[in-house]
């Protein structure tokens, strides 16, 4: 049985296309890199200054100057490029980034994301999230459908501070694949073994059901 995070990562991986420039946020979104379909060449951006991010190096082969946005050691593919912070965010803001995958605290009925602050409780800062959600061509929120206390993370209106006033493109959870449309949230796929009713019950925001609704296909990589 696949765990919730693996379902999300495997579904998001199928959104990637040949030659795309992709940014994966820290945490769950990073797991997408483990499930990129075989033979597909994508360029992973690390916003601290790298295009062509690759796996963690074996112990003893780390380079102090080759790290990801969390400060952890990584490697780079042949043909990788080092960029400074100005260019890194020029790529993001300037519309050169094809896909950004980020975690979320809440997404609302309009597809607006809150993911950087809970007033008085949690103030990590937005880091690059505001630039990513505002600038990337396709914005995918990868998150658990409900919070640890069971509350839906897909809500009528965000109660926590917004990351951007630009709606995200898709929401991928352990229960569903939801497209954000001008008319509202469109349920297009359910996770393996999950019923439409289960998704509706776990979603506090109104959902439209796609006439072509089907079960999620997952990356087998």
């Amino acid at each position: 049985m696949m765990n919730a995070q693996e379902i999300i990562a495997r579904r998001v991986a199928l959104e990637l296309r040949e030659g795309m420039l992709v940014n994966l946020g820290i945490g769950l979104p990073t797991m997408v890199a483990n499930h990129i379909p075989a033979g597909l060449n994508v360029f992973l951006q690390s916003e601290n200054g790298l295009i062509g991010l690759d796996a963690r190096p074996p112990e003893g082969m780390e380079d102090d100057d080759l790290t990801d946005a969390g400060g952890g050691f990584v490697t780079a593919i042949p043909g990788a490029t080092r960029i400074d912070s100005v260019m890194s965010f020029g790529l993001i803001r300037g519309g050169h980034l094809d896909i950004t995958v980020l975690g979320g605290l809440q997404v609302d009925a309009k597809g607006l994301l809150a993911n950087w602050m809970i007033p008085g409780v949690l103030a990590p800062g937005m880091g690059g999230a505001m630039d990513l959600v505002t600038g990337a061509k396709q914005v995918i929120v990868a998150m658990q459908h409900t919070a640890k206390d069971g509350a839906s993370k897909i809500v009528p209106e965000c109660t926590w501070p917004l990351t951007s006033i630009r709606p995200v493109s898709q929401i991928v959870t352990n229960l569903a694949f939801i497209e954000v449309t001008p008319g509202g949230l469109l349920l297009k796929e359910t996770a393996p073994g999950v019923s439409i009713e289960t998704v509706i019950k776990a979603t506090a925001a109104p959902l439209m059901i796609s006439p072509a609704i089907c079960e999620m296909v997952l990356s087998d990589s």
Binding site: L66, A123, D131
Partner: protein, 218 residues
Amino acid sequence: MKIAKHVDEIIHCILPGSTLMIGGFMGVGSPHRMINALVKSGQANLTVIANDTAMPGVGIGKLISSGQVSRVITSHIGLNPETQKKMFAGEIQVELVPQGSLAERIRCAGYGLGGALVKTGLGTLAAENKSTVIIDNETWLLELPLFADFALIHAHQADYFGNLSYQLTATNFNPVMAMAAKKVFAEANEILPVGMITPNDVTTPGVIVDELIAVERI
């Protein structure tokens, strides 16, 4: 030619209350020798402009722990619980700026620009107390330049003109910060004879670098 000086001598020039830009991203590419010397010398009431405050015990995190920083302008403090604790307790003033806007604000200061018009942050808390500008019916957020008294820069290699080259992800904010401060102090992993860094590999020209930190010999 520049004579590389002992780190303590350089850090001594930084007065309490100064505004510092410090390079680095989660401690990677931070000028660790200058940070250590600053902690040792104890100047207080500093304003720090940096991407993040790293972690307790790492890079800029050391300056947060030592209580020398009264204000920080940064994009991320999520991996340093101490910064968050001090912020909630009112011991440190934190201005959170989206990472790309932080880079642009520093660039504006260094490149002679009066501000940057961005979409990032529009309609969010990051736009509070900032002006918007409408051009051809499109709304933009005005981000103003960020200047500093001193930029503390980490480079991979320097030469005795002060030319600097950077390595991989240790580059990050260092080149842009070197443009935006009144005084630029650089420490490098090694200092080479002039001419050893080829012109193509110099990212920061030595003419804008004021002081070089001598490499410590073991």
